[in-house]
């Protein structure tokens, strides 16, 4: 992929943050944040602050939490408080989430999982101590980002193609109904209700897909909606895709790559850390190779001898420190995707491109 010399229309910065997502989206001096996982050990907390300062980002047009898991919300409250809230006011205009009420999330977590700090800590702080008090004072707009949701962002528009509105409502109603035990009502987990966003240019046929940790089932519903929603678009195929759930098999849906992507053209971005031995899944990587999707990873194995397809096999003992050290066999980087004026999508750095070979 040759780099276009033209001015970029938009950029998406996928910060390396270990096993998690932190994505900054920018277009025409508008900025948005999709998910946030800022552990100190991955250096992401310090890097994002430097990054925001260097670019002089004073305001976020939107903050989107795709789903309430720790690897998507840890550090979000701190970042918003440190960089976008001060005596002058709140400097993020909108907050988007799937519409899952936080009291339900927290109670569910406490009762069913004995309070996983993975959810409780991040969510309680973010919702109860930051968002709810600010929303009561109308300091920002809090929007449920479900199918049909649309917002304009610079020269782009953002559309939610998942989750289904009635799926969230049904899940909520079943839990609050009280007629059946929660275990039975709790079939749909947060990943099933993950926000799936499409960033589309207003004129050019450029669509970038950001799907959080959407599951196979969620992808089926979202892409069916996209097929209907985008029928009048010149080209409904995606120019770029964030690979769902850090390459987990539970979020894998091969028709996404087969029918909605362009071979060798669509850029895939994989946010993954060396600390999680099961991500990415070898089967997912095989399919991405089969459909010729170039994949840029925030963390990658430096040696092609580390496993099948040049990737570590699930179960292989890895260096589990979230920040790959020298000699650990892994490299890392922030992946930058640029949408150029000619509609071309370019990803950097070149060393983040996974070079996969067949088994």
């Amino acid at each position: 992929m040759a780099e276009s010399a033209e001015q970029p229309l938009a950029s998406l910065e996928f910060l390396y943050c270990g096993h998690g997502d932190t994505i900054l989206v920018g277009s025409d001096a508008c900025w948005g944040l999709v998910d946030c996982h800022l552990t100190k050990s991955s250096g992401a907390h310090a890097r994002i602050r430097d990054w925001i300062e260097e670019r002089g980002i004073r305001r976020l047009d939107f903050v989107c939490l795709t789903h309430p898991d720790r690897d998507h919300c840890f550090g979000m409250r701190k970042l918003l408080e440190e960089c976008f809230c001060d005596n002058d006011g709140v400097r993020f205009s909108e907050f988007w989430d799937a519409g899952i009420p936080s009291p339900l999330m927290l109670t569910l977590d406490m009762k069913l999982h004995r309070g996983r700090p993975t959810i409780t800590r991040g969510i309680r702080g973010l919702y109860e101590e930051l968002l709810v008090p600010l929303a009561r004072q109308d300091r920002f707009a809090w929007r449920s980002c479900q199918q049909g949701f649309e917002a304009y962002f610079g020269q782009f528009r953002l559309r939610a193609i998942g989750p289904k509105r009635n799926a969230v409502e049904r899940w909520k109603d079943r839990l609050l109904d009280g007629r059946e035990p929660w275990g039975r009502a709790h079939r749909e987990e947060s990943n099933d209700l993950s926000v799936v966003l499409v960033l589309s240019h207003r004129q050019l046929p450029v669509h970038f897909l950001l799907g959080g940790d959407a599951t196979t089932r969620a992808w089926m519903a979202a892409l069916e909606y996209w097929r209907t929603e985008s029928w009048e678009e010149a080209d409904t195929r995606f120019s770029g895709v964030k690979i769902s759930h850090h390459g987990a098999l539970s979020g894998h849906y091969p028709p996404l790559y087969e029918l909605f992507c362009r071979r060798e053209k669509t850029v895939g971005v994989l946010s993954v850390g060396p600390d999680y031995e099961l991500r990415p899944d070898a089967q997912v990587m095989r399919d991405l190779t089969r459909f010729e999707i170039p994949v840029f990873a925030t963390c990658w194995p430096q040696s092609s001898e580390r496993g099948l397809d040049g990737l570590p096999l699930p179960g292989e003992p890895l260096d589990d420190h979230p920040f790959p050290r020298e000699g650990s066999g892994f490299g890392w980087n922030d992946v930058r995707v640029t949408i150029c004026c000619d509609g071309q999508v370019v990803a950097k750095p070149p060393e983040a491109l996974l070079r996969l070979s067949g088994p």
Binding site: S41, R143, G178, G183, R217, L249, E277, L278, D319
Partner: protein
């Protein structure tokens, strides 16, 4: 209710169960991995059985593949927990990742404090078992992995008072969402 016969007179085969329970998943893992099961059965305890991390990984892949085939709503973390529990403790456990704060550093061990729900827990970890960088200091934030039993999820039913409280909290939060959209309308 009797099933309607097929054209050749044979009864219609039973329909596949689309949403297998956790118990059925355990059964599936049992069936998929008889050799590991045998190894476990012969070993005096699960811990001394010759089951490597690679075996666990392969079992996990099999179970996940099966989960994907059937497309049911059990999270992968839960499947992982079941598979690990099967090998390690012969009972489902949840493998949990925490972030903890290093409270003290000794010559041979460090004490790490982390939150479980609203409670604080502290764990002493021998230095040789520390992951990653061993130049650890008081005040560092580190990752800790631990295990806990999975509650019988299917049995939990909130009381009427709890439900009423929850409904009020949900309604209150709901009133804060999409306000501008409502005003525009």
């Amino acid at each position: 209710m009797p099933r309607s016969p097929q054209p050749d007179g044979r009864p219609e085969p039973p329909k596949p169960v689309l949403e297998p329970s956790v118990f059925q998943l355990d059964e599936k893992v049992n069936r998929l991995l008889p050799e590991f099961k045998d190894r476990l059965a012969e070993a005096p305890s699960a811990r001394t059985a010759d089951v490597t991390d690679r075996d666990l990984g392969e079992a996990w892949v099999e179970a996940t593949l099966w989960m994907a085939q059937w497309k049911f709503g059990l999270s992968d973390a839960r499947v992982k927990a079941i598979v690990k529990g099967f090998f390690r403790n012969r009972a489902p456990v949840l493998i949990q990742e925490y972030q903890g704060l290093v409270r003290s550093v000794g010559d041979d061990a460090v004490t790490i404090e982390f939150e479980i729900g609203d409670d604080l827990a502290a764990r002493r970890i021998r230095r040789e078992n520390l992951r990653g960088d061993r130049t650890i200091q008081v005040g560092d934030v580190v990752d800790v992995t631990t295990t806990m039993s999975v509650l019988p999820i299917a049995e939990y039913r909130p009381t009427r008072e709890e439900l009423e409280q929850l409904k009020r909290a949900v309604t209150q939060e709901q009133s804060l969402r999409d306000r501008r959209g409502r005003e525009d309308q």
